[in-house]
């Protein structure tokens, strides 16, 4: 028996209603959810923020005491504020650190794995191939650190004035090499120089175990202090 026109029409309408009504319901429901989510986001803009924001590293060893000292040292060295590398006079470093030499050196113990001690020949500030290799490796391992500290020293032979100038030359030699090798426009905002001459915080033989460019079999304190200690510091200030 053939289906009547009304029967066909009803059948078509019912079957047309399936995609149409479903679509209407699904899209309408999504629109409602979007409206609610938008209203919630407007009320509490940061409520759903679960994604971290890119930031410099701030490692656990950066305790309040270290931050305070570091801030003083870096400000004195020109890293904070003007953004230009000025370098620190020995007296400045001593006064901003307000601590004994061994305590000052102990500040850097947590970065032992990332630091390098560039050892110079007696009475020179020239970098040799091993010095450059060590320095490049340490500098390339920046990761999230914000500041690269170069602490240059001299062994006690010679006059205080001479050693002060010599350690300054050593610090500058390191900076010049980094500028030339890495051509990093941010360098002057990252690298802080301290030259301590023979007057403050001489390295002791505990530092012989650190990564250094000198003869591995020879490590007297005099050898260790004809040097520039270089390390990235993972602290935010």
């Amino acid at each position: 028996m053939p289906m009547s026109f009304a029967g066909r029409f009803t059948l078509a309408a019912v079957l047309l209603l399936i995609p149409t009504a479903s679509t209407y319901a699904w899209v309408g429901s999504a629109a409602k959810r979007l409206e609610i989510a938008t209203a919630r986001a407007n009320e509490h803009p940061h409520a759903d923020t679960q994604v971290a924001t890119a930031a410099p590293a701030d490692e656990a060893y950066c305790n309040a005491g270290l931050r305070k000292v570091l801030q003083r040292v870096l400000k004195s060295c020109g890293l904070l504020g003007s953004g230009e590398v000025r370098g620190c006079q020995p007296a400045d470093a001593k006064s901003v650190a307000t601590m004994a030499g061994p305590d000052f050196n102990a500040l850097f113990a947590p970065v032992a794995g990332r630091a390098g001690i560039v050892q110079f020949e007696k009475n020179t500030s020239q970098l040799d191939a091993r010095d450059r290799t060590l320095l490049d490796g340490v500098f390339a391992d920046q990761r999230g650190a914000s500041y690269f500290l170069v602490v240059a020293r001299a062994s006690p032979e010679g006059s205080v004035q001479h050693n002060r100038a010599l350690s300054q030359d050593r610090a500058q030699a390191v900076l010049s090499h980094l500028r030339e090798t890495f051509q990093d426009p941010d360098l002057d905002r990252e690298v802080g120089l301290l030259w301590l001459g023979e007057e403050f915080a001489q390295l002791d033989t505990d530092f012989c175990r650190w990564n250094r460019s000198g003869d591995p079999s020879a490590c007297e304190t005099a050898d260790l202090n004809r040097s520039a200690f270089a390390a990235w510091i993972d602290c935010q200030l």
Partner: protein, 417 residues
């Protein structure tokens, strides 16, 4: 076996097969449309991806074949005019619904009228078959994804077509043997009615969909701006762009991030490369170089990123070639590096011997570090991929289904500025 209801309709197994196949197609296409429409709220949802959708729990991995297929530019039409476009599964729903209608209607016909109706049914059943073949080839060759719900649609389409062919064969014999009154009208009229009917079946749901889609205009371009688009350290890598691409964009990505690979495919297929000149900032989510992640989400990504930066400074190999290689072999690289991250280096060096000596060098490491620090300066989210068009962020919610619509809006906004 034949069932003869009271009113004289003859229901044969081929009719049952046809109706079941059409109804199954309607259900599969319905689930697919439902999953698509679910995402119109710009949020993340599970997806039905099984041969018995609704009976098994939906997939929430985001890596299923159904997900890849849905997020591809082939899953919908009018994507630049509507956020997400109109899902191709919606007209599929309409066509299967129409097939059910014509299949039931056919049961009330006899003789030559039935034969004519069967022929039209058979012709109609070609529509989902042709679409299935096209989509199947795209899934297989282009997307390399096996979408189970889609396969359900393909199988339903073929079964419906074969059943329809059997119905035509059967109705021809009946038309010749039966001495029934010839109720069949002219073929031209039948085709016109068919065209009008299927037009209504397809157009009405599509219109309802298009007119009820939310207004996304307020959400466009409100996801933040870059603090600076400058590249003083030359860490950005040029990506493929058309010769007339005028609008600058910066893409932050990880070469071993599957979402970045999928985004690259969508972007390439969208045709926006003709308008947008992209530069890439490498942001590997690998703790070997990136201190912002606590574990290596994509082990080896730092090494591959260094390779891209190395290639950018060499004439023998282009950065784009390394990126393309990393995307093409991403699964293979990740499988190897999840066991041993160090394997990334020999793999990339084998593919690009000219990069030997550069990958892992102090300069390459420092350059990658500056790339990471660029994201710090701009206070970006630790997330990939991110695209900034003319310094304005394409919202994360718009990087898949809504990408074409959002980019169209952003380009229009750029032109009006």
């Amino acid at each position: 076996m034949e069932i003869k209801p009271r009113h004289g309709m003859e229901i044969k197994p081929r009719h049952v097969a046809f109706l079941v196949a059409a109804a199954a197609g309607l259900v599969f296409a319905g689930f697919s449309t439902f999953d698509f429409a679910l995402r119109l709220d710009r949020q993340v949802h599970d997806i039905h991806c099984s041969f018995v959708p609704g009976l098994l729990s939906a997939d929430h991995s985001g890596s299923s074949g159904c997900h890849s297929t849905m997020m591809s530019p082939y899953s919908s039409w009018f994507r630049t005019q509507l956020w997400g476009g109109i899902p191709i599964a919606l007209p599929a729903m309409s066509v299967f619904s129409f097939l059910v209608f014509r299949g039931v209607e056919l049961l009330s016909t006899r003789g030559r009228e039935r034969h004519q109706a069967a022929q039209i049914l058979f012709a109609t059943s070609f529509i989902p078959v042709v679409a299935s073949v096209a989509m199947g080839l795209i899934s297989w060759l282009e997307l390399q994804a096996a979408c189970k719900v889609c396969i359900g649609i393909y199988v339903s389409s073929f079964v419906a077509m074969i059943s329809a062919a059997a119905i035509v064969h059967d109705s021809r014999n009946a038309a010749l043997s039966e001495d029934a009154a010839d109720l069949a009208g002219p073929l031209g009229r039948a085709i016109t009615v068919w065209g009008a009917q299927i037009g209504v079946f397809v157009a009405v749901p599509a219109l309802v969909y298009a007119t009820n889609v939310p207004d996304y205009t307020p959400h466009m371009g409100d996801c933040g701006d870059l603090l600076s688009t400058e590249d003083p350290n030359s860490i950005m890598v040029d990506l493929e762009a058309g010769p007339s691409a005028a609008v600058e964009a910066i893409e932050v990505f990880d070469p071993l991030c599957p979402a970045c690979r999928a985004f690259e495919h969508r972007f390439a297929a969208s045709g926006f490369a003709d308008h947008i000149r992209r530069r890439a900032v490498l942001f590997p989510l690998d703790d070997a170089c990136n201190w912002m992640v606590s574990a290596a989400l994509h082990p080896g990504a730092c090494t591959i990123s260094e390779a891209i930066l190395c290639a950018d400074t060499r004439s023998q190999v282009s950065a784009q070639a390394v990126i393309q290689w990393a995307f093409t072999h991403q699964a293979e690289i990740l499988t190897a590096t999840r066991n041993d991250p160090a394997l990334a280096k020999p793999m990339v060096e084998q593919a690009f011997p000219a990069l030997k000596g550069c990958i892992g060098s102090d300069k390459a490491r420092a350059k990658l570090n500056r790339s990471l620090r660029w994201t710090v300066k701009n206070k970006l989210s630790v997330l990939t991929p991110q695209l900034y068009v003319d310094g304005r962020k394409l919202c994360d919610e718009d990087t898949d289904l809504g990408m074409e619509y959002a980019l169209t809006q952003m380009l229009a906004s750029h032109r009006s500025r």
